[in-house]
């Protein structure tokens, strides 16, 4: 059905083809590989240069800058050792932001994966499954700024949501959803709403690769739906689940636009609702009078990379299982 599903088989086929080619090298095929090796670097170099100069290089430079006190170009860099990191540790505003990022990672993560498991399990056998899946996924590719603006009116104290709640006699539930101390909870719900569709899609793609006879066999053995999911779907799509978890770690920590959009009308989101990317933006280039604390901001970037590395290693370790081949 999908490229990636086909690719599994095709990749092995390509591999066997490649090894058979190696075992019987003809003169012409030798010419092919000679031709290719002449072009190897010219083909790779442009992408590699751009990637090195404008992505990987800057990442290394950021690591260096994180040990400096620096207000950007025109200012003299001053080496301060680990002082920026010590400052992060003692900065309550950063700790709040860090805690919020972790809340997104953990709370949204758990809710999203529980929902995604549940939905992908029932969606398999629903009518209009393709259409439903597409609708759930849609918010994920819409501009977070546009969604933020839309939700801004929907959740306005006198907006449709509260009006609706009052209309059906639930006025007690009508809340100022965007007030500073409730904003972050609203954002958490918003992230779940936007993101779940993507993970439903990933889990469905994983489950789709499982051959149907496993389900038939388990049905003959008298397994109910839950047992089928537990004994067939879960173990056989474990790889995909593990990779989805890694993707969530990477994607959740860098959420910026979605939070920013909720408060795009003011200079900066209230402290209670900031995440690390937002706080970094506030301390460097953001706002009406940017603070340009480049060394301090870079230290936050380094902390994020370290966090990604640690969490990804952790997730992989925890989720490592004997590979189930089928």
């Amino acid at each position: 059905m999908t490229d990636n599903i086909a690719s599994g088989g095709a990749a092995t086929a390509a591999q066997t083809a490649r090894s058979s080619r190696r075992s019987a090298p003809s003169k012409q095929v030798g010419a092919l590989s000679r031709q290719r090796s002449k072009l190897y670097w010219p083909f790779i170099a442009p992408a590699l240069v751009v990637y090195l100069a404008l992505f990987f290089g800057p990442a290394l430079a950021g690591f260096w800058i994180s040990f400096q006190s620096w207000r950007g170009s025109g200012d003299q860099m001053q080496f301060v050792g680990t002082r920026n990191y010590v400052r992060l540790w003692n900065d309550t505003a950063f700790m709040t932001a860090f805690g919020n990022s972790m809340k997104i990672l953990v709370i949204c993560g758990v809710v999203i994966f529980v929902l995604a498991f549940l939905i992908s399990a029932v969606l398999r056998e629903m009518r209009f499954r393709k259409g439903l899946q597409a609708l759930l996924f849609l918010p994920y590719i819409i501009s977070p700024i546009a969604i933020g603006v839309g939700l801004g009116l929907l959740l306005d104290p006198n907006g449709l949501f509260n009006t609706g709640l009052r209309g059906i006699g639930l006025s007690s539930l009508a809340k100022p959803w965007l007030s500073p101390d409730r904003l972050f909870a609203t954002i958490l719900i918003g992230i779940v709403w936007v993101t779940t569709g993507f993970y439903v899609m990933l889990l469905m793609a994983g489950a789709d690769r499982i051959p149907g006879y496993f389900y038939e066999d388990s049905q003959l053995a008298g397994a109910n739906k839950f047992q089928q999911w537990w004994y067939v779907t879960l173990p056989l799509s474990w790889d995909v689940i593990a990779i989805s978890a890694v993707l969530w770690v990477i994607n959740s920590l860098k959420i910026f636009e979605f939070v920013y959009a909720f408060t795009g009308t003011t200079d900066a989101p209230p402290e209670q609702a900031r995440t690390v990317p937002i706080y970094q933006f506030v301390m460097t280039m953001g706002g009406r009078n940017p603070a340009y604390q480049m060394g301090y901001g870079s230290a936050m970037g380094v902390v994020m990379v370290a966090l990604v590395v640690v969490l990804v290693v952790l997730v992989r370790r925890v989720m490592r299982r004997e590979a189930v081949t089928y």
Binding site: T2, S7, A14, F56, V122, S143, V312
Partner: protein, 282 residues
Amino acid sequence: MSKLLVRTARSFVWLWAASNVFLFAWIAFTSLKDSREVFDSPLNLPASPRWGNYESAWTVSQMGEGFLNSVAIVAAASVTTIALAAPAAYMLGRRDTRTAGPLTTFFAVGMGIPLQAVIIPIFVLTQKVSLMFSDTFGWWDDRISLYVIYVAMSLPFSIFLLTGFFRTLPPEMEEAAALDGAGGLRTFAKIMLPLAQPGLITALILTVVSLWNETLLALMLIVENDKYTLPQALLGLYQTMQYTSNWGGLFAGVVIVVLPIIIIYTWLGSRIMEGMTVGAGK
């Protein structure tokens, strides 16, 4: 018991999908209302559609300029990304040299590096470039900086996606082309690229979608109003809306941002979804 759970879960899925449809419809209708209608009758159809909202969003609020800027930057950056990624991915995917494996990994590492680790050096670098060009040639456009950076940040995923794709293509065609005496460049351009077309299109669409929504780099690198990208222009409109409370006009702006993506999605949605699951399938 189990049946009840399944039924509840199914209704939940339906409810969710329906509320998504409802939300988008609500946004579309709101964009055609005047400010009083927006709050007085939030659920009604617009009494008489006010297309003027779009006109004012497009011209007065500079969404039009933003739209053109976004189209130009996103199109140029996406095409450049694929043009750089395709040859690299072809070599990485189809040759087993000693460097191919490590290089593939090296590019893939870029997908795990959050933008936050890169933006500060990039900000300073682009400032310097802009200053240098202004000094020597008297001219620089920050949109060029944004375009170049967009290419760099889109490369890792595109190369990852395309390397996997090139790997799946059958080797016979290439060998046949070599037997017929086609050079390496010719084989790539005439045989492999057409074969890889579905993968190239998928990579292109995914790049377009993610760059269309990108806001952080644009906020950092672009300062002047007339050079704003579309999300920036929408944020600007959101800000002025605080004084005018012209919600209809603001929502017209939202529709202008969202509609192109929805059109692409209804047209090529399955491809987008397939492309985005590729990483997990490996």
